[in-house]
């Protein structure tokens, strides 16, 4: 490998480190709302970063790269869901005892209610109400139509409103 290539890789590596240091925690927060579990969230962030790493040199500005990583993070989250060999079965109703029980117990009823949403709806909720993306932006991240985002959002809100986990007294 010649010196120029080495220097370019080192520069790229340093910048990538800087990006991860600056934005890694924000990515982790989104991942935590998706997975409800600290370890899975870290796994999801690292997986998304690993998949995106080779694109670092192709994308000029950090904002563009962060959008790229987020897209990978959300689509990876959905693909984890579909990956049957993990033993996870696609279902509309999650079991009463979620896999992320320790974190859910600590973080209260909203995360319990989130855990009961189908993954597509959960992803839309996090994109729209945590990331504050518009419907069109959320559709771009998920690679689906705006109509799908609208319908998923509506179903998610209906489910959250009727969730037994969200009692009035908890709102105080």
């Amino acid at each position: 490998m010649d010196g120029a290539v080495v220097a370019r890789e080192q520069r790229s590596s340093t910048s990538f480190d800087g990006f991860v240091a600056a934005r890694g925690d924000a990515l982790w927060r989104s991942a935590w709302l998706l997975t409800g579990d600290s370890h899975l969230a870290e796994d999801l962030v690292q997986t998304a970063l690993a998949k995106s790493w080779r694109a670092w040199d192709r994308i000029d500005d950090e904002g563009g790269f962060e959008a790229y990583v987020r897209r990978v993070l959300y689509t990876t989250y959905v693909s984890w869901w579909r990956r049957r060999w993990t033993g996870e079965r696609p279902t509309e109703d999650l079991p009463e005892t979620a896999s992320a029980a320790p974190d859910l117990a600590l973080r209260g009823d909203l995360t319990t209610a989130l855990a009961r949403l189908p993954r597509g709806q959960r992803a839309v909720v996090v994109l729209r109400y945590f990331e504050d993306l518009t419907e069109r932006q959320a559709a771009e991240v998920l690679g689906c139509s705006v109509g799908t985002v609208k319908s998923q959002t509506a179903r998610a809100m209906t489910a959250l409103r009727s969730s037994p986990s969200l009692r009035p007294e908890e709102d105080a």
Partner: protein, 455 residues
Amino acid sequence: MTDDQWLRDHLTSSVPEPPSAPGRADAARRRARAARRRTAAVVATAGAVAVVAVVAPLALGGSGSSSPAPAAPTTSATTVTPEDVACPAGGTQPEGPGTLPDGAVGVRLCQGSGMTFQGPADALVTDVDALIDLVNEQPVLDMSGGCTMELGRGYVLAFAYPDGSIRTVAGQLYGCEPLTVGGVVRSNAELPWNRFNTLLAAQRRELDPPGDATTTVSCGDAADLGLSPVGRAGEMTSAVLCANYETASDQGPQQAAVPADDLAILLADRVARRRDTAAPPESCSQPADLRLLGVTAWGDVTETYLWCGLWSDERGHYWRPGADAQRILDRLVEEAGSPTPTVDAGSSAEDVVAAYVDLLNAGDRSGAAALWHPVAGPPDLPTMYSRVDYKVEGVKSLPRISAWRDATLVRALYREQIRDAYVPYRETSFTLGRDEEGVFRIVSMQLGDVVETGR
């Protein structure tokens, strides 16, 4: 405050502080490089297969024979039986050399620490040294970045040597994918796993299936044993249709045997109509979880399962049945039937309420009515509902002064839904007591307050 704003505020406050992760970028880079190595290895393996395909006819049929004989196994397949290579009873060897010696006569794939799978009944006895080389060339795992627990399969490869000794290698297909060889933890556990399965499939192509392989399967087998990593859904020689309904009571899957002629039609339709890219929608509503669970001539348990109108398998193939195949599947679902909950003196009060809800949802009102106590007055069955939902919140015994034997209170959230209309849950109390035969029966059901949910 609007719902939207409430959700925004509470999502933000729900997220915990991220843990310190100074090695996150390094870990991501390591994963990226490992993925690149895996991709390169797959490409190299595919290339090697292509080269063999070209070279083999030259080696075997140099005289121009139009039908060369199949290649013989390259090692002493005839002198080693599967019994010679057994899964070790004592687990893996955590200490010792971190390198496997050459010269193993066979290797068997066994269950390790992780999710269950069905290990193949036959041992690999060809090209074992190639597998040993692959294990030995894996780099030592760098544990400095920490490994996460993404649950997957765990396996053990048990290598048998001519002197009767056994050496084991343990792999985990999750987290950092550690590959433990003696006292050394290497990386890339997925590579030996894939290579073993590829080599075993190649070995089988040169041999006849064993005459004593399991030829039948039942719906509980996949849950108990797991699925085979080697078997393919298209190679089923017998199968059952399994239908799992969402029930309040603990019901196993319903099952219907697939006649051989029908299985042949289904498999042919699957070959003709299979797609590799038409992924099903993310979510849908289906009354039952359907699977075709089958066994191959080698005894491998394999399956294809229905999700949102498409049948999928472990390898990411999708199949939308044609009209004839669909008729067969529909008939099998009908034959399998829907679950019929039963109760007896061994059933708890909670079991009886769950059975009651299931019978209501199955439309069996007389069965539901029979779960009411015969001397408690007429059963209070719901009249207008499309589905009953029920979640137990607590169970407690009532004081002995109660008029009912072993009187028990089941507290639950309960609602009678009407199509898609939103119906809130209500706090509901079921009181039960044992009848003359000692079976819990419902004495009364009291609908309480509406449970205010959401905002």
